[in-house]
């Protein structure tokens, strides 16, 4: 008899993984040939992709520092992927040592890797769960142990929502998080788009195709569509902008034009 269908899914390492592809873009070696192959194909149609990913990371770091400046020291990073360097907890804990960070990912390898990297760091935790199931995330042991949901939390959805289809109702899940989080909580969000950067809609479609071929979806959304995710949050200055333009550390004119692709923003729950 074969394995019954009710058993948990195994890991198929012959399939590319979004988080390992991401690592490849960032120059890491936490990836396998299938991942690199998929990543190379994506870079072929969208040559600036690694730069865009670095821009995502840079935005995330600036936003985390902003959060700490605002007194928010609890972080819930969903779709955190494989931690390499410059992760949310490093940035946050560098700014304030007692910052607490819970990473959430639905990729079992990413989760296992995160556990290994974070071992010994008392103020961090890892949850194997999916953004589409907010209750599983919010009810998890690490969240209950590390985060005080009566106080503001920064919710990080960096380069995540463009993998969630409309029919999976990302807005609904987001609303559940919004409703649970305390006033003063922050939503830190980036999203892929062909708006803003030098890339064409055609390229957007092609890269979506590449991701579809590896079993994921990459959805280009328009600015109004991304803006809608901030429903219930008040955007802080400078609003929803291309990532390098969000509170830059240095003059943005030195940046590669490609990194102006996509949007990033931070919203505060009133």
């Amino acid at each position: 008899m074969e394995r019954p269908s009710w058993a948990p899914q195994g890991i198929d390492l012959s399939q590319p993984s979004v988080s390992r592809i991401y690592d490849y873009y960032l120059g890491g070696s936490h990836n396998f040939e299938v991942d690199r192959e998929a990543a190379r194909r994506a870079i072929e149609v969208f040559p600036g992709l690694p730069k865009v990913m670095q821009a995502n990371r840079a935005f995330m770091r600036r936003a985390v520092r902003y959060a700490v400046d605002q007194g928010v020291t609890q972080f819930l990073d969903i779709g955190s992927g494989i931690p390499t360097f410059g992760n949310a907890h490093e940035v946050a804990q560098a700014a304030t040592p007692d910052a607490r960070v819970v990473y959430v990912d639905n990729d079992p390898v990413a989760v296992a890797h995160s556990r290994a990297v974070l071992e010994g760091n008392e103020n961090t935790g890892v949850v194997a769960a999916d953004f589409r199931d907010p209750q599983a995330v919010l009810g998890s042991e690490p969240v209950r142990r590390l985060l005080d949901l009566h106080r503001p939390v920064a919710l990080l959805l960096v380069a995540l929502l463009h993998f969630i289809k409309d029919e999976e109702e990302p807005g609904k899940a987001l609303a559940e998080f919004h409703d649970t989080l305390a006033p003063g909580s922050l939503l830190i969000l980036t999203h892929a788009s062909t708006e803003g950067g030098p890339h064409s809609t055609q390229q957007g479609r092609e890269i979506s195709d590449v991701y579809r071929s590896v079993g994921s979806r990459l959805l280009m959304r328009s600015r109004p569509e991304v803006l809608a995710f901030f429903d219930g949050f008040e955007l802080v200055e400078p609003g929803l902008v291309s990532m390098p333009n969000w509170r830059p550390d240095s003059p943005v004119d030195q940046e590669d034009p490609v990194v102006f692709t996509g949007f990033g923003g931070v919203g505060r729950k009133a």
Binding site: W6, A7, R20, L26, N31, Q54, F85, P108, A116
Partner: protein, 729 residues
């Protein structure tokens, strides 16, 4: 290789730490270096931070450049540090080395300490060392990352395997420990797995009875008609599951009855893969159910089907519609009560058992059923007889079978039975109607002397049914005040004045309308309800007469009321007392009441029965001999009767309706009138319908009359209106 700008660093002495150049030179070098390398890094440092990060590296390169003896080794650390700063992209290295090659000597060397030629040679060596350190660090980092990724993958995999194992262990325990039988089969019917409960159900401890056979071989003769069709639909993926009761052969030859649920299991693509069967052993429950059902539908004494089962079958038979026929024999033993009363119930029961056995031998077809539906009542149902003859044959066989006496306790008991037969097309009557008809017909057979059968006949059914239903309703009718009284005036022949009225009771039947006394008085007489009904009529009529008198209707001579008295009332012990009480309560003088008793009732009565009448007559109550001339009166006995009036039956006066009158009738009536007058009886004639009749009767000396010629019976208030009319005749 050194194509850099002209040296701008000012001359300076040798550096105490071995790094000779101007500090500004190092800073500028770092700026140029950062500008070249930063775009290729994946660092999380800002540009400024990155440039700051490069300053110590520039210092290290500078000091290594000037060191004596010259050893390029420490420059490896620069490559290592740059890898640590994530300058790992392939295009980083040319940028790193290009800047060293072009600007290191220019900004970081002290020409005073280092001759240009030696400087260039040393710079090349340093680049080699940086590249080696870079390569080494990158190699180490790549290995470490690959290893950590593999560890993570392995950890994740073993975590999942552990969870899977746990889940499988859990489900295995559920599967094995379930009290419900579970089996999984491939779509070709091969049994793949069965759990313990299922094997136990089949009594299959070695587990090969089940697993060695295909599902499709589990056919049982008692399978429901749809089971295998549903099975095929499931296998084809047209049905997700089905539920049924299904029997199986056990290896030991017994039958296992199950409540079976089969579900289709599909693979992730949705194509059918397995069948999952869940089975519950309902053998015991089913047996119990069958036994309870048998007990509920069979007579405990004779083991014949009982009333419930009989009605079920009768209803099924009748429901088949008019294209089929049915036949029913309703059999009741004659004189069974006597057997029970004289020989005891035990003997009666044995007799019933013997009768049941004999009747059972009379039915021989599949559509025939014998049932016991009451004490000594049996029925035989023939589902679709070819002709009426089939049913009468059955009745004859039954009578024949019972014709030999039954031996009970050494005593020969003769058995007689009456049978009512109903047959006809199904679908016209309800089961209850059919059985009632059979019951009526059976009573007809009994009335004919018993030990015979009779065939149902719609007319006699109708008569009996209406009698029956009226009788049943009488008490409620009395209770519900459905009776009312009409009054027919009695007219004095001498002057045409009204002397009184006869009270005639009517029944306002809710379904049949107004019924005359002939329809229900005999029934009331039969059931004894006549006593209360008669009392009510008397009270009502007396009260009414009183009212007329009070209102002065009838003029100076008070009106009298005539009330009929039935034979049963006549023999009622309280007749006198009640009548007196009624008169007294109403305040009506006794002579204003006349009780009419039929001639036949009066002449049948002995002296004791006449005594109450005599007492009433002595009190002044008038007594009329009703329907005189119909009862073969012994004329001589008229003298001893307490009557004061003869009411001559209408049959005598019919011949007088026209001119000329029938001469014989004239003579007869004349004779009766003169005889009555001799005996001091007045004569009242009933049924006067024509003026000629009235004229003849007056001429013959009749005292009073009633009939349609004068007035029909009507409500009491009509008396005031009709009096003058009647008098006008």
């Amino acid at each position: 290789m050194n194509t850099g700008p002209e040296e701008t660093a000012g001359p300076g002495g040798p550096h105490p730490a071995g790094c000779g150049p101007h500090p500004d030179g190092l800073r500028r070098f770092a700026t140029i270096w950062s500008r070249a390398v930063y775009p290729t890094t994946a660092t999380c440092m800002t540009r400024a931070e990155f440039e700051e990060h490069l300053v110590p590296l520039a210092e290290l390169l500078s000091s290594t450049l000037h060191a004596r003896p010259f050893d390029p080794g420490p420059a490896r650390a620069v490559g290592t540090a740059l890898v640590a700063a994530h300058c790992t992209a392939p295009e980083s290295l040319p940028q790193i080395l290009g800047v060293v090659d072009a600007y290191l000597l220019l900004y970081c060397a002290d020409p005073a300490l280092l001759p240009p030629e030696e400087g260039r040679a040393r710079c090349a060596r340093l680049q080699h060392a940086i590249a080696a350190g870079f390569a080494r660090a990158l190699q180490e980092r790549t290995r470490a990352e690959q290893e950590s990724l593999s560890r993570a993958a392995l950890a994740a995999q073993s975590e999942i395997e552990r969870a899977l194992h746990e889940s499988e262990t859990r489900f295995r325990a559920v599967f094995e420990g379930a009290t419900i039988g579970i089996g999984i089969a491939a779509l070709d019917g091969t049994v793949l797995e069965t759990n313990r409960a299922l094997n136990d159900m089949f009594g299959d401890t070695e587990r090969h009875h089940l697993s060695s056979r295909k599902v499709t071989s589990w056919v049982h003769p008692d399978d429901g008609p749809a089971v295998w069709r549903m099975y095929d639909e499931l296998v084809r993926g047209e049905r997700e599951h089905f539920r049924t009761e299904k029997p199986y052969h056990r290896p030991d030859g017994t039958v296992l009855w199950t409540h079976l649920t089969v579900s289709l299991l599909r693979d992730p693509d949705g194509s059918p893969r397995y069948m999952l069967a869940l089975m519950e052993d309902i053998t015991e429950r089913r047996l119990l159910h069958l036994r309870l059902r048998y007990e509920a539908t069979h007579d405990a004494l004779t083991d014949l089907p009982n009333r419930t089962l009989f009605f079920e079958r009768l209803e099924q038979t009748l429901a088949r519609g008019a294209q089929t026929r049915f036949g029913l024999c309703y059999l009741d033993l004659d004189g069974f009560k006597t057997v029970n009363d004289s020989l005891g119930h035990a003997v009666g029961d044995q007799l019933l058992v013997a009768v049941a056995e004999r009747l059972q031998t009379c039915v021989n077809g599949p559509g025939q059923l014998v049932a016991r539906i009451g004490g000594d009542e049996f029925v035989a149902l023939v589902a679709d007889p070819a002709c009426s003859g089939d049913v009468t044959d059955l009745a004859e066989r039954a009578l024949e079978a019972l014709s030999t006496p039954v031996l009970v306790d050494g005593r020969e008991l003769p058995v007689r039975a009456s049978i009512g037969i109903v047959d006809g097309p199904a679908g016209e009557r309800t089961a209850a109607e059919v059985l009632r008809s059979a019951d009526i017909t059976m009573y007809r057979a009994k009335a004919q002397g018993g030990n015979r059968y009779e065939l149902a006949d719609p007319d006699s059914d109708a008569r009996v049914i209406s009698r029956h239903s009226l009788t049943n309703r009488l008490p409620a009718a009395l209770e519900g005040q459905e009776f009312f009284i009409e009054y027919q005036p009695l007219v004095r022949m001498s002057d045409g004045s009204v002397e009184g009225a006869e009270a005639l009771v009517r029944w306002e039947h809710p379904r049949h309308g107004v019924l005359g006394p002939d329809r229900f008085i005999p029934l009331a007489e039969h059931t004894g309800l006549i006593v209360p009904l008669g009392r009510w009529v008397l009270e009502e009529a007396v009260r009414q007469a009183c009212e007329w008198q009070v209102r002065g209707i009838g003029g100076t001579r008070p009106l009298r009321v005539n009330v009929n008295l039935s034979p049963r009332q006549l023999s009622h012990p309280d007749l006198v007392a009640e009548t007196v009480a009624v008169l007294e309560n109403a305040g009506l003088p006794p002579h204003s009441l006349c009780l009419e008793v039929t001639e036949s009732a009066m002449i049948r009565a002995d002296d004791a029965e006449l005594k109450p009448l005599r007492q009433l007559a002595e009190l002044g109550v008038g007594i009329a001999l009703d329907d005189f001339g119909t009862g073969y009166s012994n004329l001589a006995s008229l003298r001893r009767l307490p009557a004061s009036t003869l009411k001559l039956d209408r049959s005598f006066t019919r011949g007088l309706q026209h001119h000329p009158a029938d001469p014989v009738d004239l003579k007869v009536v004349e004779g009766i009138v003169s005889l009555a007058h001799v005996l001091d009886l007045s004569v009242t004639v009933e049924g006067v319908e024509t003026a000629a009749q009235a004229e003849h009767l007056r001429a013959l000396g009749c005292d009073s009359a009633q009939g349609w010629f004068y007035a029909r019976p009507g409500p009491p208030e009509r008396m005031a209106v009709e009096l003058p009319l009647a008098a006008a005749h």
